[in-house]
Point group: C2
Chain length 241, copies 2
């Protein structure tokens, strides 16, 4: 991991660019160190997502958590996958047609992404956890929910996850969700037009965790109410302290 430029934000949070091999990333650390780390999931495209990621990271820092994220395969400047681009176009067509979305499309869109991203997030953990500013258990927060599900199954260093159920999930990952046992907070936008609500509920049902909570709200895909940020902090405070 190589650190690039850094900035001290006005609330005392230190924001640093880094690269992990070819993968760009961002790390935010609060003044209080060492801090438990929360990995911030997102749909890809760090530059476009920056304002929302930075806001979430500063909200984490206000509760004493560090936060970090890396670019997704195919996101930002990273090489596109022709398979994923085709699947994305197929998905758009299916949604525009208002019909059901074929499982094959979701599999082609999400499974290769999960297969490639999860080892990268684990490598990011390998690089981040030895930093003196980082200490304690790790959380995952956000989407892509398929990545969060797989990470929750295969990565024992993740102790709790807030999963944003804002994208389609391959059936294979719903099956894999039964193996998840860590505490979960699943966030669902009830009226998210680009998502399958029933599938999100099936996924929530499938999780094997003894403590799992679903928060569903109105407001559309990007309309998660601000109070959910506070709820997220309290969820992680319960499980990462």
């Amino acid at each position: 991991m190589r650190f690039g430029s850094q900035r001290r934000l006005d609330d005392g949070v230190l924001e640093r660019d880094f690269t992990l091999g070819e993968i760009p990333g961002l790390l935010w650390t609060p003044a209080s160190a060492p801090a438990p780390l929360i990995l911030l999931g997102h749909p890809g495209g760090l530059r476009g997502m920056y304002p929302r990621l930075a806001a979430r990271a500063r909200h984490c820092a206000a509760e004493g958590f560090a936060a970090a994220t890396i670019e997704l395969p195919g996101g930002g400047e990273r090489p596109r996958s022709a398979t994923a681009e085709r699947a994305r176009a197929d998905l758009r067509r299916a949604l525009d047609a208002g019909g059901p979305v074929d499982d094959g499309i979701i599999d082609r869109l999400v499974l290769p992404l999960v297969d490639q991203a999860v080892p990268e997030w684990r490598a990011a953990l390998d690089a981040l956890l030895p930093l003196p500013e980082i200490g304690g258990p790790v959380g995952y927060s956000g989407g892509v929910i398929g990545i969060g599900v797989r990470l929750a199954v295969v990565e024992p260093r993740i102790s709790a996850a807030l999963l944003f159920a804002g994208s389609f999930v391959p059936r294979a990952l719903i099956e894999q969700a039964r193996q998840v046992t860590i505490p979960l907070l699943v966030l669902l936008q009830w009226d998210d037009e680009g998502n399958d609500r029933q599938q999100a509920l099936d996924l929530f049902d499938a999780f094997g965790s003894e403590e799992k909570t679903l928060h569903a709200n109105t407001g559309g895909h990007t309309g998660v109410p601000p109070f959910e940020g506070d709820d997220a902090n309290r969820f992680f405070a319960r499980h990462l302290r």
Copy 2:
């Protein structure tokens, strides 16, 4: 309304018995007055429910809210309804048989209860709101969810409601839920064996409120996690202040 005995609880909350005609009730007021009032819903039987109601009321008082409740028709010492008793026995049989529950049973069990209880809760509001210790908007919190739904439709003095989706709801009330417009927090126990999860989700979907939030948790009918008490206080703090 006639007040009976009263006690000062060790956290400074004043607990008073009252009767409204033949209906017994309880009022809890915090030291800080006047306080917004939260009506505490319950399944009937104030004596058996007392420990949980008092705990909820003291939790409300810690956030500066007064709380009150009255006995339900057929609950505690109040006269039983033969129709309701028969419907309850039919429901138990249907649940024991593991089959679907006939709509007619739910209608016979819940609709007369709602029809009788709602005017009583409104009369309780008439009696409670003029008290000098009470001031500001009113919330409803708890079950029976059918009573909460009807109150949210017909009682304009209720500004926000936390509805416990822990009992069957007649279809007529799901239809009526479309008329509800106040902010809602709906609490669902995901693995509540004596409840119909899909019906609870249909009810949540039907509510016409612009701000509605569903919190679903594991733990069975009586296993609502303690952190939901804090979430409830924050919900009411947002809407009753």
